[in-house]
Amino acid sequence: MATDGLHESETLAALRSEAEGLKGKLEEERAKLHDVELHQVAERVEALGQFVMKTRRTLKGHGNKVLCMDWCRDKRRIVSSSQDGKVIVWDSFTTNKEHAVTMPCTWVMACAYAPSGCAIACGGLDNKCSVYPLTFDKNENMAAKKRSVAMHTNYLSACSFTNSDMQILTASGDGTCALWDVESGQLLQSFHGHGADVLCLDLAPSETGNTFVSGGCDKKAMVWDMRSGQCVQAFETHESDINSVRYYPSGDAFASGSDDATCRLYDLRADREVAIYSKESIIFGASSVDFSLSGRLLFAGYNDYTINVWDVLKGARASILFGHENRVSTLRVSPDGTAFCSGSWDHTLRVWA
């Protein structure tokens, strides 16, 4: 009935204004405890010395855009995935390829190395996350032992093992994240709350090890409790899609990289954004971010083919690295912090130190 419709839209409008009012109040509360800016506190910190970083290894072998990479805990091996479905495991120190498998789908946007170093996980436009045990047996076909673990209703954008080979956390274009049991493929927990595609996730290095952060096309970064499936904190200050999130090494904060050409730092205890890393000359989106071991440096790969190195504390850019000939799509610091690896649409991966 017409009057019902009117009533409903009034209620909807009322709800919306209440929601917005509360959001405003939340911002006020957050602002109350914001008594100093990071760069002010950082005035006491020594300026960064000159440091030179160069490409030390170039990994060529993908015939198409490299989309994702991950380090093995042995600090030298990596797995990388590309647009044409190829997933390659390299000993990046020697640049030897050790394993290669071709996925039955294109745009493999996510890949991860298992903590034991004995398996890899990957997925993309097939909407799944599959686990491949790594074998050196010449008679065995890697693809034969493949195990489908996660099933989403849209593309897989990110995946990560938790502390063992037996659980995987995934993020998807279907707007959800999920935790899976590798052996059975059982869904252990799902995380709903993003209003659009989820593009990235990172597990917290905390003592209790029970949270992770995700970023999405709804411009939100959300922190989740793995056990309950609830969102415990959310931040919405970016102006466009969040392509990458990474925890600060202490676990008290995380950084994000976005299509709005900025990277930002969010503090979990202060419950707010505490720094923006941007420059007028940086016009293209940041696709991938990671911290150096001490958290002093933030490496960010951009869609303008460059890598910018930010001084996390002082907020200034410390360096810009040229080398890639197309978008930098993925970037991770090695587990012992001796180098970082970047992957690009120019078909190569580079290790910088």
Partner: protein, 468 residues
């Protein structure tokens, strides 16, 4: 299924692209500012004079000054602007890109800006543009253009007369313009097509990844449920405790200071960074289960309890220490809980049972001292048999160790002894001549080693004091 999106994507350009195109256009507009913009000159080309030209080097200089960046970065940015068709050269080979020399450039007319939402239609390209080219100069079409031309001729054969007529019409109209204008228009148009129909092998700056949903067209309906959820979330968030910024930010300074000697990218690496010198001694000396750990490594155990536990050598020594204190069951219990929390679903019931028998049952061999309330809650929850049933108990024991045993460990003779015995590697410089450099050693893949619960050990852990 998401498509390999190209310039002709229905619905206009993807969000990310619009964002950067808009920003590029702002730069280009300010470059043309009559007062603050790039120095304008008139460019003589044979007998024609083209007004409003700029040189490549002037563009670079302007960008470097405007954004306070190096010339290298300014050139990179200028080159990107050119790659996107906002700047084009007036003479010389017509390719997208910026040459930092006296080459004359001009700014693309907004009609042809990449952000202008003409999905570069096949009709316009194959027909009008290529046909004009063909009419003007027989044989002026290069291979890929020829291919396109022929394909399209086949596709729209029935309209071909119309197409040729339109092409001829445009050419006739163009002939009436001045030579300078004709040259400029031709270059403008060509630039547009170079961006929207790059020749094979040339980079395509308009290439996109798989389609992403837009927030407004998202699956989440702006329904009353959605707003109710937001309201609930905001209410909860309002109730949370926050910490003052000053305290949080101090924390970063402290952490960063403490960890900076360990940050190899910033502070170097002893004996050397394997990636720089090709010498993997650093990894050998820091292998997971090395006999004599380095000084830096042992120091790290003092930073936080987590750092100690995360290091297998540190954890092993801590285990020894707890044995002496008769509280080793705490660490064993904690380890068993970790195994449960991150283990496979199938193992959960058996693991829970084993943990109960060994640590929680009244007659348990390694009974752990948990407060009665936590114990009661834990025992009640055990039948649920999921991987989080021991979380409370695990946290309790973790905190016990952290607040009690851990500080004692750091003050103990054992730890002090470990610090004293720890190795400080001598620095080895990079060998300048390549024939002197060590060959890059391969290492056995973790996938080759027998799987165990422990992180895999790499090859022989030779731990001499400072030996290379």
């Amino acid at each position: 299924m998401a498509t390999t999106a190209g310039p002709g994507t229905p619905g206009g350009r993807p969000r990310a692209q619009i964002l950067r195109l808009t920003k590029m256009e702002r730069v280009v507009v300010s470059m043309q500012d009559p007062d603050q913009g790039v120095r304008i000159r008139s460019q003589r080309l044979l007998i024609t004079v083209i007004p409003h030209a700029v040189t490549g080097s002037d563009i670079v200089e302007w960008l470097a000054q405007k954004f306070c960046v190096s010339e290298e970065e300014a050139l990179h940015l200028g080159d990107l602007l050119a790659q996107h068709g906002y700047i084009y050269p007036l003479r010389g080979p017509h390719s997208l890109g910026l040459r930092p020399d006296e080459t004359p450039y001009r700014f693309q007319t907004p009609y042809f800006w990449t952000s202008t939402l003409w999905p570069a239609a096949e009709l316009d390209y194959g027909t009008i543009y290529l046909t004009k080219k063909n009419i003007r100069n027989e044989g002026a079409l290069v291979d890929h253009e020829k291919e396109h031309y022929d394909q399209l001729h086949k596709k729209i054969n029935h309209m071909w007369d119309l197409v040729v007529m339109q092409a001829q019409e445009q050419l006739r109209a163009a002939k009436q313009r001045r030579k300078g204008d004709r040259l400029v228009t031709a270059r403008q148009e060509h630039t547009y097509w170079l961006v929207n129909r790059p020749p094979p092998g040339a980079p395509n700056v308009l290439e996109q990844g798989p389609e992403r949903s837009s927030y407004t067209a998202s699956r989440v309906q702006m329904s009353s449920d959605f707003y109710k959820q937001e309201i609930e979330f905001s209410r909860k968030a309002l109730g949370r405790t926050r910490v003052k910024s000053s305290i949080c930010l101090e924390g970063y300074l402290k952490f960063s200071n403490q960890h900076s000697p360990h940050d190899h990218i910033m502070s170097g690496c002893l004996p050397s960074n394997p990636w720089i010198t090709d010498d993997d001694t650093y990894w050998v000396m820091n292998a997971p289960m090395v006999a004599v750990p380095t000084k830096l490594r042992v120091e790290r155990w003092g930073f936080s309890f987590r750092e100690l536990l995360d290091d297998p050598v540190g954890r092993a020594h801590f285990m020894d220490f707890l044995q002496k204190e008769f509280s080793v069951e705490n660490l064993s219990f904690w380890e068993a809980c970790e195994e449960l929390r991150f283990g496979g679903q199938a193992q959960v019931p058996d693991l829970v049972d084993a943990v109960y028998q060994q640590f929680l049952a009244p007659s348990a061999a390694c009974w752990v001292n948990i407060d009665s309330r936590t114990m009661e809650r834990t025992l009640e929850g055990l039948p649920q048999s999921h991987c989080y049933v021991l979380d409370d108990a695990q946290l309790h024991i973790y905190m016990l160790m952290k607040k009690d045993s851990y500080p004692r460990f750091l003050k103990s003779d054992m730890y002090k002894g470990l610090l004293a015995e720890a190795v400080i590697p001598l620095e080895t410089k990079r060998r300048v001549f390549s024939f002197m450099r060590k060959p890059r050693h391969s290492s056995p893949s973790p996938a080759l080693l027998p799987t165990s619960g422990e992180p895999p050990a790499t090859s022989s852990a030779a731990g001499g004091k400072g030996e290379d």
